[in-house]
Symmetry: D2
Subunit: 289 residues, 4 copies
């Protein structure tokens, strides 16, 4: 149906599985993704942390210093925010990216931020990891454009997307030539209303079997409640995840976005020291290496 003038691609199309480059049958060993001194894969366990949205220089710098001290190895922070309502805070945009870069310079932490519009790719030149959010998991033009980039991509599962569809979206990026993809389970839509979404922990071992790409879990968006971040972080680690992405805010009660699911820096510190570190040791994973 689709003719290729590329011998490697012709070879690939002979694989019957719907996803080919992302398929562990095609490449058995784990993909290792290098971001500065950080290595995904090789049995390491990484925690991404930071606020849902960048709000000010003070906020992002304080949070960055605190999460770094606690053991986080990547700083997260949204500058462009996908909000259900056009009247809700949409993020600081270019200014937010600039503040993230300042925090990066100050702490040395690599940074991850969501890109929603490929026209703004230049703005993300010094961002270490580009995040594709759940609502854009099947924004195929965005995926194709990121396939032409060489930057690591954090690809989040859509709210109603199957595990196979997540792998097909990774395949879009890989088919374009970019193999640096970190997959992220962040909760799916179900009838249950006690949690914001239903975090599908079983997606972790299913993905680890089907693909060689690293898999992390977002318990903050997955559950929508700060009190569930600890148990679900530990569940993700126990199920074999390669990392976590946890929201931390210096003042959750006054956060411009997603305060109810954010930990304070103190809570994050305790979680890392008393819970995640000992469990990652038990699981034979090296925390933040």
């Amino acid at each position: 149906m689709t003719p290729f003038n590329d011998p490697e691609m012709e070879e690939l199309m002979k694989i019957k599985e719907p996803y080919k480059k992302a398929n562990r049958k095609y490449k058995a060993e784990d993909t290792i993704i290098n971001i500065g001194d950080i290595h995904f894969g090789e049995g390491n366990f990484h925690v991404f942390s930071g606020p849902c949205s960048v709000e000010s220089k003070e906020q992002i710098t304080e949070v960055a210093n605190r999460v770094k001290a606690a053991g986080a190895t990547v700083l997260r922070g949204g500058a462009f925010k996908p909000r259900t309502s056009p009247y809700a805070f949409q993020g600081m945009a270019a200014d937010g990216i600039e503040l993230m870069l300042e925090a990066k310079r100050e702490t040395g932490l690599p940074i991850v931020s969501e890109i929603m519009n490929i026209a703004l790719l230049d703005l993300f030149a010094d961002v270490d990891i580009l995040q594709v959010g759940a609502r854009n998991m099947q924004n195929f033009d965005l995926l194709k454009a990121l396939g032409r980039s060489k930057k690591p991509i954090l690809l989040k599962r859509g709210l109603a997307n199957t595990i196979e569809e997540l792998l097909m979206s990774a395949e879009y990026i890989m088919a374009g030539g970019n193999d640096n993809i970190i997959l992220c389970e962040r909760g799916i839509r179900t009838f249950e209303t006690a949690t914001r979404n239903t975090l599908d922990i079983s997606a972790v071992p299913v993905l680890k079997k089907l693909t060689h790409l690293p898999v992390i879990v977002d318990p903050s968006h997955g559950c929508g409640k700060a009190e569930l971040v600890e148990p679900m972080s530990l569940a993700a680690l126990a199920a074999g995840a390669d990392g976590l992405i946890i929201e931390v805010h210096n003042d959750p009660a006054n956060a411009l976005c997603d305060g109810p699911q954010s930990l304070t820096p103190d809570q994050f510190d305790t979680l890392m020291r008393d819970k995640i570190r000992p469990m990652s040791e038990l699981m034979g994973k090296k925390l933040g290496a």
Copy 2:
């Protein structure tokens, strides 16, 4: 949270409902959308029809002539196709748009086609209605850009999006200044596997109560089976929809996309004449006016 320097917007923000411009409480009378000689609203009932994908000049022209003769008032046809797999047929792109325009010139039918990338907006200059597909319903940058356009928008409900979220996405377009929006129910994701999706017919009366915007239904994508198009078209009409969008292909068995859910031109002709016309009369709707 979001400061506006616009008195109308300041007024709007006082409305407590999450969607404001789309809200029937704010504007009780139905929005009428004019496309050439066609008027949405005022008790008219319109059927959009055509192939899932434009495949050739012969195909689109033949289908266009047949569906026009049968009573369709808008020609649909995909040039840019959102496909789960990067290895599946992605549409004829610019050539597909050109063929749609030829079919428009030949038949006089206004045309609708999906736009996935705002960078390609110029290519759609002569397309009458821009479709936002289910996977892009929360591609907010796309919605904002379309708000600055004045073209009618066909906004499809996402596979896991609530009715309220659909209205919030319409609100994004309206907040930008474009009120010409047609909403489309096209099936949601559930546990049921007998149908491709579960077509939520109750979304029609719910939407008609909540908003003044016209609402149409896509039974082809909603069910994924040609044999279900007739009963579900009639159900949508009986539930109060303002129109339908039905896939028709000259050769469904060999269609490059979605053949199993496409009607033949003969089947469409029979459906329109023997079923949709008498039922629209019973419902007090004027077919294709």
Copy 3:
């Protein structure tokens, strides 16, 4: 796996389809179910109506007379109520059945009521149709016991059950020797919160193709809102249903159960006369015969 000493059953087991006796491939013609002078099938359309719960002699008698006058052919009324909370009104139990029988004697309408416990079967001796509620669709011991009865069964689809599972539950009853089954779509659980459940209208044509059993729709429980009963009743009829089950209460605001989804007798009268009658004529169905 299961040895049968019954030649008919041995023959049946050779059919590969999971449901055999319920399968249209095994019996092409519609099953006709006779209840007094009423015939299901043969192109008839029946409306079951009455209150969610029997509350008093005055209530059930008044409602029975009103819905009969409006054209309903079966009186519904719950005596044993499956309630989520043990502290909610559980129905009038045996007294409720007695009041239903009085209303039957007064109006001549056959009656349907839910049975939740097979130990109470004797109490239902003069009830014309035994209802298996959504929560008991896979109460297999109940299904087996009803298979040994010869009474018509109204089998409701479970909230999270597939169409195939509904047919398998019908098969349980039929395997026991009772072929008098009316299937009922009454809404499934999804993420949508604007309606109580999502009424799966597409289940009607899917079931009509797969089985020879009659299929009715319950828009009252399916949507949970009185204002949606009219459009969804018409949608069900348009999609090919053989009947409806509609809740009518003389005083919805003070109903002990499900008031928000109940019509008044006047609303039901108007719905039957102005909407359901003309549409059943258009669909070529004979109302209440």
Copy 4:
């Protein structure tokens, strides 16, 4: 609405929460359930294990001895099986219970088995824990009857039931006077097809907060694949569960029911020794006490 002649109940009804006796607000300390020498609660962690169905004396005795040696403290085994198809193996019925009792006498392990029909309660006189299966979670007559028993109840969450509904079903049993309830998360229905169900691990911390009753997890039914039992068992333990229920079969390939999700005795032994024991120590739980 419901008048009570019981002062304790009158007091109870003043609590505004929908579930009262099951509510941690009403009773802060964990409920401890004693079964022979085994204590649920007090920071213990129990693993229930055994085959899906009892198939023969040799099978159940062998499995019982093996799982006991590996550290399981309760033997599970189905005698009455709820099967979607009436033509599938329905269990050994009374003979199955008898074989479970023999295995109990031989190993000293307390036993749990599913009861689907209250008329058979006498048959379960020496069964230690009565299981209410997912399909019967809202079989309210069964719940009421079990409320009058004093036996410990293992109450499984229904496939489409919310956490609150699970607690309301527990409340039915408690309102009848039986407080000995163990709750079980066993997967919910979603659109995902890579797993049999989606195991909702977040239900564990949500339940532990809302109720004082113990909570266990069934990774076997929850995922439907043997390879997922290990990671999901560890995830459940890490999330705070009080126990697990794991299917073990001496010959999974030839099991009469649910073979694909069963571990072999060797696999179970390794899981307990190498994974569950060290993780329960890390979590500060005493395994099988």
